[in-house]
């Protein structure tokens, strides 16, 4: 028996796929922004906070990094439901993605802050700057260069991992592909096309992140 590929039905669903792709991008971008917003203060607290807070953040990061994302999605989705919080699947997906992404981002930001030489701190203190000033105008800018590539890869990883949220019937790329595959009975073709879309996104974002890195850090600054 030879199988004949047929992409006609997938082509008919192209606008749906585009919608799903945009939703995947929107979810990933929002997740990245929220993760960073949570991770920066959490990373600072993880380094300089009181003992109980450091311990709590450490435990959270280790828990998230050592359990499957899929189980975390279930915990968030059904957990929120039990707590009486009614969210649409995309909202629950964003919360699960952020709960997951923040843990990895905390570790990235922390490594960036720790990676800045102690001497920078001491120099800032000698100049009479407050700890907040030292963080915001001396340590963070330098840490930014250290964390740039880990954060860029983190974005691509989030985008790829977001396919797992299709388990709660969201409207991102993988869920749309599942719908198309069950409606057209062309599962292999549908997943092949979607795999191609994900790959194109990874390649495109790698290129964009390289350009941004060059623009931010590699161009000669005027003397």
């Amino acid at each position: 028996m030879t199988y004949e590929f047929y992409f006609g039905d997938i082509w008919k669903a192209r606008w749906l796929l585009l919608d799903g792709t945009l939703t995947t991008l929107r979810l990933s971008a929002l997740c990245m922004v929220l993760s960073l917003a949570l991770a920066v203060p959490a990373a600072v607290a993880r380094i300089a906070g009181p003992g109980w807070l450091r311990g709590t953040i450490y435990a959270y990061v280790e828990y998230v990094r050592n359990t499957p994302f899929l189980v975390q999605i279930f915990l968030v989705y059904f957990g929120l439901g039990m707590a009486g919080i009614r969210l649409n699947p995309n909202g629950a997906a964003l919360i699960a993605m952020t709960a997951n992404g923040a843990a990895y981002t905390i570790e990235i930001v922390r490594a960036g802050i720790v990676g800045v030489d102690r001497g920078q701190w001491e120099a800032g203190r000698v100049l009479g700057l407050s700890p907040v000033q030292i963080y915001s105008s001396i340590v963070l800018p330098q840490a930014l260069k250290i964390i740039y590539w880990p954060l860029a890869s983190q974005f691509i990883l989030i985008m790829l991992a977001s396919s797992a949220v299709s388990v709660i019937a969201t409207t991102e790329l993988s869920s749309i592909t599942y719908d198309i595959s069950t409606q057209t009975f062309r599962a292999f073709e549908a997943y092949l096309v979607t795999t191609g879309i994900y790959f194109a996104l990874s390649v495109a974002f790698s290129a964009v992140f390289s350009l941004i890195f060059w623009a931010l850090f590699m161009r000669r600054r005027p003397a």
């Binding site: 028996m1 199988y3 280790e62 828990y63 990094r65 050592n66 359990t67 499957p68 994302f69 899929l70 189980v71 975390q72 279930f74 915990l75 059904f78 957990g79 439901g81 039990m82 691509i156 790829l160 991992a161 396919s163 797992a164 299709s166 388990v167 993988s174 599962a187 292999f188 997943y191 092949l192 979607t194 795999t195 994900y198 790959f199 990874s202 390649v203 790698s206």
Partner: protein, 217 residues
């Protein structure tokens, strides 16, 4: 809806065993693919190096879920009756091969070129050089990231539940559908994963710290 009972615990325990089975199948398959790719990536022949690099980029640039679906539906189209364990195991092997292959290739690269050149001058063949000179030294560097990747692999097995393979995550989902106690079930199951993964994570970072210390000395 019904209450949680002892049968559910047994069902989850069976799921956990299937998770471990899938993990070992994928580890063995991924290692075989990974070794082949690492040797290709470090081989003197350019097309082989490019093939390995393309494989790494393609697999690492697409979701493991898509790989699982493509293998599951693809093998069915080709007329194979693989079943869920074998097709999920094959997909995770293909996936793990890309990560292990890249880890091992860079470990081989980290062994100085002088080592293999010296071996060639002594008249050793490629196989002997690799096996007796390069790989033993590369293994020291490769161990910490390899152990770290095992954590990714254990977590990755959960994705097999998408094609209906009843491993730990799928089992917990089924029991939750019947009893609706998500905190107890998913919380408990996540702790089970944690009990497997956390020691590996700790071991990986301890090995890495020891290696870093050995290099600064």
């Amino acid at each position: 809806m019904r209450a949680l009972n002892f049968g559910d615990v047994v069902f989850l325990a069976k799921g956990a065993l299937w998770t471990l089975a899938l993990f070992f199948v994928s580890l063995v398959g991924g290692s075989v693919i990974g070794i082949a790719l690492a040797l290709m990536r470090t081989s003197p022949w350019r097309p082989l190096r490019w093939f390995a690099l393309g494989y790494f980029r393609l697999i690492q640039g697409t979701p493991v879920l898509m790989q699982i679906f493509l293998i599951y539906f693809g093998t069915a189209l080709l007329g194979f009756e693989f079943g869920a364990l074998l097709s999920a195991g094959l997909a995770l092997s293909i996936n793990a091969g890309a990560f292990l292959g890249e880890i091992w290739a860079s470990s081989i690269d980290s062994v100085g070129k002088g080592q293999s050149e010296a071996a060639r001058v002594l008249g050793l063949r490629y196989g002997t050089t690799m096996w007796h000179i390069v790989i033993p030294q590369a293994m020291r560097v490769a161990t910490p990231p390899t152990v770290g990747f095992l954590v990714q692999l254990v977590k990755g097995t959960a994705m097999a539940s998408f094609v209906g393979f009843v491993e730990l995550t799928r089992a917990s989902q089924m029991i939750n559908n019947a009893t609706f106690q998500p905190f107890v079930i998913f919380g408990g199951v996540s702790l089970l994963y944690f009990a497997i993964c956390w020691p590996l994570s700790l071991l990986s970072s301890r090995l890495e710290a020891r290696l870093a210390k050995a290099y600064t000395r």
